[in-house]
Symmetry: C2
Subunit: 175 residues, 2 copies
DNA sequence: CGGAGACCGTTGATTCGTCAACTACAATTG
DNA sequence: CAATTGTAGTTGACGAATCAACGGTCTCCG
């Protein structure tokens, strides 16, 4: 009897796992469709612009971007290629270390981010947050924060870092 | 003031959303790596085998598979191509409707599923379920079940369908 | 100094999934 | 019955991300 408990997924465990997988697939797909339709950039593009906008001097080494976005260094190279071609970011050599090359947010990139931010955040609210009460969102944050890959407490508005966005994209931001 | 609430993601909302995205990326990646390393099939492959094993006569039309896996019909065609080549499933024409072609689980496919099932479920437990108490898993199931794409209450062990697995893969199954 | 090893970013080849177009068949409607 | 409309599945062309391998650079230690 104890054996089956280990080798079968059933009841709430199965529901939780399936909902986790399926909701993610649906939400990400719709989110991306919205962003592409309205602003011509993908969610990944948006993510990169956002991370850059929050970074010191609005630039980051490629590997930092790779880590934040959970992409390969190779993947980031190609993603950045596209954004450079679109004029949203530039590559800047690092004077201290010739190996690293910074991705630098351009003014156009910053504008694009602000432009896309509002509707993107609206989409996230509509597809994700709106289904929960504030209490439930805190529960979710606490629960999901324990999973591998999640970095609990790294939120931008956490009170430990002074509570202010260094150079956030104004009033439309953050995902 | 009310405006910023709508256009900024912060605090628990931001943490919940980021954890949701990042944990999913990490978990799925590790899960897939495990499955490929140990059994030479991907998570998608596994999913298809599992759905077939639970289906009547262990076969399903392509479009049913597409819907279950949240893939395109086109994507399923290619995925099934691979599984057919590996001898894990076969294509069978439908006598009633010449348009549909069934994906039919072979004995080898069934064996492969049983073989992979145990370790896969173990991985899911380790990466996902083990981080929560039973109560928390129920909370999660209830919360995530509300999201778009999730099909709440469709669990295999739901009491509405008689409570028995039609032809489940024995004692190792289900994700 | 000089070599060993680690690290950063890019590239080529490959895999995986999508979209759009197409074929074949079924169902509906006049 | 014929024509239209809709559905199932496959295919070609493409985009996105990966892995493996490479070239250039830094660091550490003999």
């Amino acid at each position: 009897m104890a054996a089956t408990v280990d080798t079968i997924l059933e009841g709430a465990a199965l529901e939780a796992w399936r909902s986790y997988l399926q909701s993610h697939a649906s939400i990400v797909r719709m989110l991306d469709a919205d962003l592409v339709a309205e602003h011509g950039i993908t969610t990944r593009d948006y993510e990169v612009l956002l991370y850059l906008s929050q970074a010191d001097e609005r630039h980051l080494p490629m590997s930092a971007l790779a880590e934040s976005t959970m992409l390969t260094r190779s993947g980031i190279t190609r993603l950045v290629d596209g954004l450079v071609e679109a004029g949203l970011i530039e590559r800047v050599a690092c004077p201290k270390d010739a190996r690293v090359s910074y991705a630098q947010l351009t003014d156009r990139g910053y504008s694009k981010l602000r432009e896309a931010g509002c509707s993107h955040v609206r989409s996230i609210r509509r597809l994700f947050l709106e289904h929960f009460t504030p209490d439930e969102i805190e529960q979710l944050a606490s629960l999901l924060g324990r999973l591998p890959g999640a970095q609990p407490g790294r939120g931008c508005t956490a009170s430990t870092d002074g509570g202010r966005q260094p150079a956030g994209p104004g009033d439309c931001a953050a995902a």
